[in-house]
């Protein structure tokens, strides 16, 4: 198994699937759907295999050799362009550690469930699934690539299919939402690209033949010893622009999270996107922002992260409270959940900002849990939207009488989102708060943030009451309860939510070593960083 390129396989499999889907006749809708489900199903199995042979004791993060399932090849090499640029070299470098392993698992799982949820698609099925599989490959690639350039390619690769999936299969304002999503994300990508190039020209890597060449390798970028004395983003250069670069890069990622005030693309995209795409969007895409911060911003700019941690926490708090209050006022079910996502991603930011093991574990765990829980919430909306073709919170009432099994699953999802103990959301939120509170400077912010769990219960229970409780609205007395496909989507998520709520160590043990070494790396300013945060 050691030599089997499993990460390439798990990433490229959907692209292969896409090519095959494109070759299939468009009339064979069932075949295409089934085939896509098989592809994503194999991905889940591969993720399971990865998890099974994962070594819990290797930290990764900034030790190149302790990453797992490494694949590293020279991809692009252009020698001797000019003396100032030297050799251009880009690696095809994949590998995972405790920070990315949960995300790989989440991506595989959510993609599979979203595929099942896509079975209700009727409009040009072939195109849909081809784009969907491309999207899947892009997301997976982001989480497994360790070369910044490769990371950026996958980051952009994911953007295009998403644009079409919202823009073609979306709701009434799909064009607006799609273009807003696209431009917003591209806006962030530009910053990222600039910082990436700046880092490239500031950091060198030792080659086998003893020469040093510029590099996009993230692991090399984390080591201050690799920087040149004059690089624009080099910590050794007294006039460096690392502070500005950090903020630019952060904005690039913050748009994806989405962080206040860059969050407004999210409600529109969610409301217009088809259910499966909302699931992908909330389940995986948002995590790419926070993952990028943990994987790139934090270890590459540790000294500035420490300087700005308070602000990250502050924005986390704003996200929590602001998102929750906005969710409280929504009348559209999907929009409410979209804002609840804003609120829940705030916890991730707060946990990251704490720079403690408990908080950071909570943040990554929250990323995973938010993926599963919010996916379930969107699926729940999808179920009634498919049947009733409306999402207004006030249009329903008493659905618990008409669809009791469905309501049972909804109760699980709602209470998981509220952070009820015994479900996974509680553990991650509790850890985020515990971590935040142990950081002296974030103490007040953490205390204010706990209001979020109160407001969260408020909007969730209110929505619950309006849609599911009360007298049955006679209009809906013909709605059928869950179908088999829907069971297949809800049951795995429910099991995961409970298992991780009761025995969270399944997930926490995977990340424990990596989180510890990341925190250690972050809290010890490397002694040879000479100029810190020149503005």
């Amino acid at each position: 198994m050691a030599y089997f390129p499993i990460l390439s396989f798990i990433t490229m499999l959907p692209i292969l699937g896409m090519i095959i889907v494109l070759c299939l006749p468009g009339k064979q809708e069932k075949l295409i759907k089934g085939f896509s489900a098989v592809i994503t199903g194999i991905q889940v199995i591969l993720a399971g295999i990865i998890l099974h042979s994962y070594n819990y004791s290797l930290p990764g993060v900034f030790h190149q050799n302790s990453f797992q399932f490494i694949e590293k090849f020279r991809w692009i090499e252009i020698a001797g362009l000019s003396s100032s640029i030297g050799t251009i070299k880009i690696d095809y470098f994949l590998g995972i550690d405790g920070l990315s392993a949960p995300m790989v698992l989440l991506t595989a799982l959510i993609s599979f469930i979203a595929t099942l949820s896509s079975f209700t698609i009727t409009k040009s099925v072939k195109g849909y699934f081809a784009l969907f599989l491309l999207l899947d490959a892009g997301m997976m690639g982001v989480f497994v690539s360790l070369d910044f350039f490769l990371f950026y390619i996958f980051w952009e690769l994911m953007l295009l299919p998403m644009y079409f999936l919202i823009g073609i299969w979306g709701g009434p304002r799909k064009e607006y939402a799609a273009i807003k999503f696209f431009i917003y994300t591209l806006f962030g990508s530009v910053f990222m690209l600039l910082v990436m190039i700046g880092l490239y020209f500031s950091c060198t890597e030792l080659m086998a033949n003893g020469t040093r060449v510029f590099t996009f390798n993230m692991i090399s970028l984390m080591d201050p010893n690799n920087y040149t004395a004059t690089g624009i983003l080099s910590p050794l250069n007294p006039g460096n622009l690392r502070f500005i670069a950090y903020i630019a890069l952060f904005i690039g990622f913050a748009i994806k999270i989405p962080m206040f005030p860059f969050h407004t693309w999210l409600p529109d995209a969610h409301v217009e996107a088809p259910t499966a795409i909302s699931v992908i969007l909330a389940g995986v895409l948002l995590k790419m922002g926070t993952y990028g911060i943990i994987r790139i911003s934090f270890p590459i700019f540790p000294e500035i992260t420490r300087q700005l941690a308070w602000y990250i926490g502050l924005f986390g708090m704003i996200n929590i409270i602001y998102g929750a209050l906005c969710a409280l006022a929504q009348k559209d079910f999907k929009k409410m959940i979209a804002y609840s996502s804003v609120s829940h991603m705030g916890y991730v930011m707060l946990g990251m900002a704490s720079l403690t093991s408990v908080g950071m574990s909570g943040a990554i765990f929250q990323m995973f849990n938010h993926g599963t829980i919010t996916a379930m919430l969107f699926l729940a909306v999808g179920v009634i939207y498919d049947r009733a073709h409306t999402r207004g919170l006030d249009d329903f009432g008493g659905l618990a009488l008409q669809m009791p099994v469905y309501t049972g699953f909804v109760i699980v999802a709602f209470f998981a989102a509220i952070g009820l103990p015994s479900m996974s959301g509680f553990i991650s939120e509790a850890f985020v708060f515990l971590g935040g509170f142990s950081n002296n400077s974030l103490r007040i912010i953490t205390i204010i943030s706990t209001l979020g769990i109160l407001l969260g219960a408020g909007y969730m229970l209110w929505a619950m009451q309006r849609v599911y409780l009360g007298r049955l609205n006679e209009k809906w007395n013909t709605l059928p309860d869950m179908s088999m496909t829907e069971y297949a989507m809800f049951i795995p998520l429910t099991i995961i939510i409970f298992v991780l709520g009761i025995y969270p160590s399944f997930m926490l043990d995977i990340m424990n070593t990596s989180v510890n070494s990341l925190v250690e790396f972050m809290t010890k300013i490397p002694s040879n960083i000479s100029a810190i945060g020149k503005f």
Binding site: T264, L325, L328, L420, L434, F437, T450, Y503, E520
Partner: protein, 710 residues
């Protein structure tokens, strides 16, 4: 009877109801008579907890039994090393008594519900919910660390939510369940902040480990103020769950749930969990925290008692009486009468469960009539219900030979002693006033419901005594409201085995400076010894109970008889006036109400607290959320869209510029070339002669120009 056996049995007691819940949720409809399955499980739990209680109290009375296992572990955490979160069970005397109380009442309520809920559409679902409630409640009782306490704390909140909203078709029920959950969440949030303080400093959640640290002088963030804050914040959880002012508003509304649920959750067990929590953290409460707790309890008991005076819904009266009695217990904890507070918790659980089930019996036979103004004379129709209700009423009013007399008397003595030692005389004064009001409104309830002439003849004619499964729990609970279960002496509880052997005030771990004077130990020797023991590990037996200073014991002893006499006196007055007004009708209650109209309205409208909250917090939050949503839509998104608009405007402008200026220049150049072409075309006549003329002239011109070179 080994420790391991007892612990494993208690684990089984914890998990059996959960098993019942899972079975009923998934297979409830397929199993005929599944409610008997759940009830049977509860009977089994009851028997096991009797066994456990017997084993613990007979063989390990002065010892805590602990079983724990790792739940979550962080290895090699930078700086801190290893952080470990455990799951564990701690069996001490409090635990086994609570185990018995919870399983007994839960079993009786299950039994009662078999008849009461018959014919409900979601009959099995109801029993499943009762199962998950019992599981969570037993979790609170059994846990040995505060995180698990919080987890089960929230889970009882969930089961309470599900059961209050059991008849969710009614808007009032779903409103009440939502309100209960949210109000509880307020308290829980505070509790969680308290937990965060403790965890951040001690990196453990285990009670004993935390207390050992405090005892060794290691205070949270090295300050007594933080210790007070931690205690009070955790107490906020109790404020929510035990419906203390200002978070008491959910409990009366919770009466929307089925009446047996009210008896189990909202009278006997879950609401008492707050008192249990305070008992658990009692040893780390500082003087400031205790005084605050006492005041909160006092205010709660007073407000609730005044409201109960004028309510007409049988369940509302009982609900406010519950709030008032819970305030009593909390107040007792605050004044340091730990053992009496816990004693009252137990006695109250029995007689209040009896009262609620009695009211359920009445409501059942009156076909869901709850207004006491439409009742009356039911004594003859429902004798078992009447007598058990009466005994419980006597107990709550503090009449001798009942359990309530013993526990209440202890609390009153405690407040008196506290008043004499600290000068806070208001607390005992209010306590006695509340005792008076309690006796009055409880007898008002009994008289209006069971005595006199029936006021609704039609409903009265259809009323009937409840079936055996409903009457039996009533009778049993009424018996438990008598004194002899707790001690042989009907007037002095201090000599009974309950307080003498089982429940004793633990030794506080708070530093001397943060204690009340009367809780300071005179000799430091015992403290040092205690510390060493505590440090040695938390399996150490707390054999040596040092309750209070000699000073306090003396004051308590002195307060005993005055308290008893006074309480008898105020109880008697209350009952007397109740009979005067409602039985003999010598005094017209309406006239009194009319003469103090504002006060009467204040009481009838529950001090307008709901309205105040509605106008401030709820409306405020909703307004803020509406404002922010609009802000989000108009301003934040407006900026984004504005940027888009501006960009589009700029692009249009640049488009126009491109079209007009840049392209215009290009076209102009072409036009100009055209013009020039047209001009020069004139010379292109096609006639050789013209060309020659031009050649000649050009040559001449050139010659002229370049003449200097020739």
């Amino acid at each position: 009877m080994t420790e391991a056996l007892l612990l494993n049995i208690s684990l089984a007691i914890l998990l059996l109801p959960l098993l019942g819940f899972v079975t009923l949720i998934f297979f409830g409809r397929k199993i005929p008579g599944s409610h008997w399955l759940e009830t049977g499980i509860m009977l089994l739990c009851l028997l096991l907890s009797v066994y456990t209680g017997f084993g613990k109290l007979a063989y390990y009375v002065g010892q805590n039994l602990i079983m724990e296992g790792r739940w979550i572990q962080f290895w090699n955490v930078p700086v801190l090393g290893q952080i470990q979160m455990d799951l564990g069970i701690k069996l001490d005397n409090l635990t086994v008594i609570m185990l018995f109380v919870v399983t007994l009442i839960s079993f009786l309520v299950h039994l009662f519900s078999v008849a009461y809920m018959k014919g409900d559409a979601r009959y099995t679902r109801y029993f499943a919910y009762l199962g998950v409630f019992t599981f969570s409640m037993l979790g609170i009782v059994l846990t040995h660390n505060i995180l698990m306490m919080y987890i089960f704390w929230e889970l009882v909140g969930l089961s309470s939510y599900l059961l209050i909203g059991f008849w969710f078709e009614k808007k009032s029920a779903s409103d009440a369940s939502k309100k209960a959950f949210l109000v509880n969440r307020v308290g829980d949030t505070g509790m969680f902040i308290g937990i965060m303080i403790l965890f951040t400093h001690y990196h453990t959640f285990t009670f004993d480990a935390i207390f050992a640290q405090i005892a060794s002088g290691n205070l949270p963030f090295h300050s007594g103020a933080w210790l007070t804050a931690a205690g009070l914040l955790i107490f906020m959880g109790a404020v929510g769950k035990s419906a203390q002012f200002p978070l008491h508003v959910w409990l009366p509304d919770a009466m929307e749930g089925p009446t047996p649920v009210s008896a189990l959750i909202h009278a006997a067990t879950m609401v008492a969990a707050g008192v249990y929590l305070v008992a658990r953290i009692f040893v780390m409460l500082t003087a400031d925290a205790m005084l605050t707790i006492a005041i909160v309890g006092m205010v709660t008991s007073f407000i609730a008692a005044t409201i109960a005076l004028t309510q007409n819904d049988i369940k509302k009266v009982l609900a406010y009486s519950t709030v008032s009695q819970l305030g009593y217990m909390i107040m007792a904890m605050g004044v340091g009468a730990y053992n009496y507070a816990f004693f009252h918790l137990v006695t109250h659980a029995f007689f209040k469960a009896c009262l609620f089930l009695g009211s359920g019996s009445v409501i059942h036979s009156m076909h869901h009539e709850q207004d006491i103004r439409n009742m009356g004379g039911l004594r003859k129709k429902m004798p078992i219900t009447y007598y058990s209700f009466l005994i419980s009423t006597l107990a709550i009013s503090g009449i001798p030979f009942t359990s309530g007399f013993l526990s209440k008397d202890g609390i009153l003595a405690g407040t008196l002693a506290f008043g004499s030692l600290t000068g806070h005389w208001l607390i005992p004064a209010v306590a006695f006033l509340v005792a008076l009001m309690t006796a009055f409104y409880m007898f008002r309830l009994v008289i209006l419901t069971f005595h006199g002439e029936p006021r609704d003849r039609h409903k009265y004619d259809h009323a009937h005594e409840s079936p055996f499964v409903m009457a039996m729990p009533l009778a049993l609970l009424a018996t438990l409201s008598l004194f002899f279960w707790y001690g042989a002496n009907p007037i002095n509880p201090g000599t009974g085995w309950f307080l003498n052997k089982w429940v004793q005030t633990p030794h506080t771990v708070v530093p001397q400076a943060q204690r009340f004077d009367f809780m300071k130990t005179e000799t430091t020797e015992t403290e040092v010894e205690g510390n060493n023991k505590a440090v040695a590990g938390h399996k150490v037996a707390e054999a040596e109970y040092i309750t209070h200073s000699e000073h306090y014991m003396h004051a308590m002893h002195q307060a005993h008889y005055p308290a008893m006499i006074l309480s008898l006196f105020v109880g008697g007055i209350g009952i007397f006036f109740s009979f005067m007004m409602y039985h003999w009708k010598k005094i017209d209650p309406d006239k009194i109400a009319g003469s103090i109209k504002p006060l009467y309205n204040l009481s009838l409208n529950k001090w307008y607290i709901d309205e105040i909250y509605d106008a401030t917090f709820i409306r405020g939050t909703m307004l803020l959320s509406k404002f922010l949503a609009t802000f989000d839509n108009k301003v934040v998104d407006g900026i984004v869209n504005g940027t888009a608009t501006v960009t589009r405007f700029i692009s249009r402008a640049s488009g126009i510029f491109d079209n007009v200026v840049v392209d215009g220049f290009v076209n102009f150049t072409a036009y100009l070339s055209g013009l020039i072409g047209i001009f020069f075309r004139k010379f292109q006549t096609g006639k050789v002669q013209t060309y020659i003329v031009m050649v000649v002239f050009s040559a001449l011109i050139l010659l002229f120009i370049f003449r200097p070179f020739f």
